[in-house]
């Protein structure tokens, strides 16, 4: 698909768990971004598994500073490259996990987008604080059991709906916003290309299952990601110039599968009873209706 298809800029040998969705995402994204890229990452799984001194998995220049500031570090990188006359042909990517994006890094991200830096921000979303041991985040979906939103006699697990981060980012009026999934690599790669090509901030929300935290088989990662799209749990769309009233749904399943097929494969949802599953299905139906996705099959 690209000139860099054979380049491995995120090298094998990193220490991600077997079946880690983030590793797949980063490897594929860098194939599009190519070697003329500077990346920032925030503290979290990605940093821990890929930068253990004296080794590094990164074949491009990379900087990790702290948890909440991948976007503001990237702002500094981008402005410095421009000031030093080195920005031409160089992409600036900022990676963040869902914790570093939805929660602790949200202010820095909002600032970066509002200031209009030419930075592509990639949120790798595995729906909880995985690096510290599966704690709930504002990315955690309703009903998921985590170590700080455990299911129990008086708890169904996470009690809040997932924060609509991509829509919030798009509302900043940035040139390009998209959601993508590691199950739909071509769609993901097209979106990475568009995000990099626009002049100004772009936000990519990449769905990346975590076998360790979601408690599914490490060989099920891609299938689970695909089920999220096919059930309408995670909708793949893009918006130009922040126009979320006229967004483009890029992958439309012909018939939507019932959410139960997605939920039952993951033990984080294993405690959910029929009525709770029905409640989740109703929420997903409502959302899919809004996005113009087909009826449930």
């Amino acid at each position: 698909m690209t000139e860099n298809e054979d380049l491995e800029l995120f090298s094998p040998g990193h220490r991600a768990c077997a079946g880690c969705g983030e590793g797949t995402a980063v490897r594929q994204i860098l194939k599009i971004a190519g070697p003329n890229t500077v990346a920032t990452i925030c503290t979290g799984c990605l940093e821990v598994v890929s930068t253990g001194y004296p080794e590094t998995a990164w074949e491009i220049p990379l900087i990790h500073a702290a948890f909440e500031n991948s976007a503001s570090v990237a702002s500094g990188v981008e402005v410095a490259l421009k000031e030093l006359g080195k920005k031409e042909g160089v992409n600036v990517l900022a990676f963040g996990g869902d914790g570093g994006t939805f929660d602790i890094g949200f202010q820095a991200l909002s600032g970066m987008m509002e200031r209009g830096h030419d930075v592509t921000y990639v949120c790798l979303d595995n729906e909880a604080y995985m690096n510290t041991g599966i704690q709930r985040c504002s990315s955690t979906p309703y009903g998921a059991s985590t170590t700080t939103s455990p299911s129990g006699k008086y708890s169904i697990g996470e009690s809040r709906q997932k924060k609509p981060i991509a829509a919030i980012c798009a509302a900043h009026g940035i040139p390009y916003t998209a959601t993508a999934s590691i199950s739909h690599i071509n769609d993901l790669k097209k979106k990475v290309k568009k995000a990099i090509e626009v002049d100004g901030p772009a936000f990519l929300h990449v769905f990346a299952p975590c076998p360790t935290g979601w408690r599914h088989g490490s060989d099920d990662t891609i299938e689970i990601a695909r089920l999220a799209v096919e059930t309408g749990v995670f909708v793949l769309w893009e918006a130009i110039d922040g126009d979320i009233c006229d967004l483009n749904v890029t992958v439309k399943p012909k018939k939507r599968k019932p959410v139960e097929e997605y939920l039952k494969r993951q033990r984080r949802f294993g405690h959910l009873k029929e009525d709770e599953i029905a409640k989740i299905q109703a929420e997903v139906d409502k959302k899919c209706d809004k996005y113009g996705l087909p009826e449930r099959g």
Partner: protein, 398 residues
């Protein structure tokens, strides 16, 4: 050598002009009283084409220091300014800037920390950042503010150092006070401070490198030791740069400056703008026949142990006067000065005075009182109360 231009300017303008003369590439900054004039002036210089650089008007001080880190790691010369709560908010990033060995320079308008909220002068903000691995300089007046900024870049960027530097100017007493300042010519600063050429590597796609690695227990301590060695090595670099500056611009800086210390029995040790009043107090007391001197700390990090031993070692008593407090102990300088002398058989009696917090003025009579209390302790050969608070508002404390 070009002629120096005499201007009458505020302290913030002095640090901004000092920074401008150093031709920074990127200025990430967030407004905060009493430093706000600094980003305003830098913005103006850029808007008027006097400075070829970019502002990043970030959304917080945490992001200011984060953007400084990103820009500096990319190879830009970077400057910012902050104060008080702002320095506290960026605390996390201060350690990361020094740990990555990035020569960022920051002007701090030294201001009290909340609560209660207070916008006036003390040194609590930068003293609370003491262990962050930054070099710390404190100015007595606006001229020092400008000069120390220029010296700070040269020291920070020296290959033997590669560490960030903060230059403190006292809130309002300096930041907002208009004083005469001699401003060096641009060409002379250009000769003094070469273009920043980071040999240690930058974020460059042609030579990819990972910055800010994850260092496990078998490596972390070595990183920290190397960083500590660099700040130790900065001691001689500071002297070298201060001397070169004096030769070129006629103003000599020292880690510790002295006034009437040679035959002094009692020495007042001060930091920042209070030193001016303290000097007047020493003049007055000398006229009364009192053998008193003044030692002013310009460099607090690295802490000038050898210089202080040399200057204070023969005195009978030292009054350590501080605009900071570590609750549950005393002042930071007092602790470190005590440790400086701990292995010396002959050492002066030391008393710690906490005063001037949150903008409380320190008057000549306060210095006289502190002198007298120190002298009494020397004569009694014992210190009953090592840490005393001076110039309390009796109506409130009663």
């Amino acid at each position: 050598m070009g002629e120096q231009k005499s201007l009458t300017i505020k302290g913030n303008m002095a640090t901004a002009l000092g920074a401008k003369l150093c031709r920074p590439n990127v200025v990430p900054a967030y407004p905060i009283t009493p430093s706000t004039l600094f980003p305003e002036k830098m913005s103006e210089f850029i808007a008027d084409g006097e400075l070829d650089a970019s502002m990043i008007n970030v959304e917080s001080e945490h992001s200011a220091m984060s953007a400084c880190i990103g820009a500096s790691a990319t190879g830009a010369r970077v400057v910012t300014a902050s104060a008080s709560q702002g320095v506290a908010l960026m605390h996390e990033m201060l350690f990361i800037a020094s740990g990555m060995r990035l020569p960022i320079v920051m002007a701090v308008g030294n201001r009290a920390l909340s609560a209660p909220i207070n916008i006036w002068c003390d040194h609590q903000d930068t003293i609370a950042s003491r262990d962050s691995g930054w070099l710390q300089f404190y100015a007595e007046n606006n001229q020092e503010g400008l000069d120390l900024m220029i010296n700070a870049f040269r020291i920070a960027e020296d290959d033997r150092v590669l560490l960030p530097v903060m230059v403190g100017i006292d809130a309002f007493v300096l930041t907002h006070t208009i004083e005469g300042v001699d401003v060096p010519a641009q060409e002379d600063v250009d000769n003094f401070l070469p273009t920043y050429d980071p040999k240690q590597g930058t974020l460059n796609p042609k030579e990819p490198a990972t910055f800010g690695s994850f260092a496990p227990p078998e490596f972390y301590q070595e990183f920290k030791q190397a960083q500590t060695q660099a700040i130790e090595d900065s001691r001689s670099v500071i002297d070298e740069v201060f001397d070169d500056y004096a030769e070129r611009f006629g103003r000599q800086y020292n880690k510790v400056s002295t006034f009437e210390c040679d035959d002094a029995d009692i020495i007042l040790l001060t930091m920042g703008s209070m030193s001016g009043t303290a000097r007047e107090a020493v003049r007055k007391m000398r006229k009364d026949g009192k053998k008193v001197g003044l030692a002013k700390l310009t460099v607090f990090r690295p802490f000038p142990m050898p210089e202080l031993k040399d200057i204070l070692g023969d005195a009978k008593g030292v009054a350590v006067i501080e605009r900071n407090i570590s609750p549950g102990f005393g002042g930071a300088v007092f602790a470190e000065l005590g440790a400086t002398f701990v292995n010396e058989k002959d050492r002066p009696i030391m008393k710690n005075f906490i005063t001037g917090l949150g903008g409380r003025d320190i008057f000549i009579e306060n210095f006289e009182e502190m002198y007298q209390k120190t002298k009494d302790a020397v004569e009694a050969s014992k210190v009953e109360e090592p840490v005393e608070w001076i110039n309390m508002n009796e109506e409130v404390t009663r």
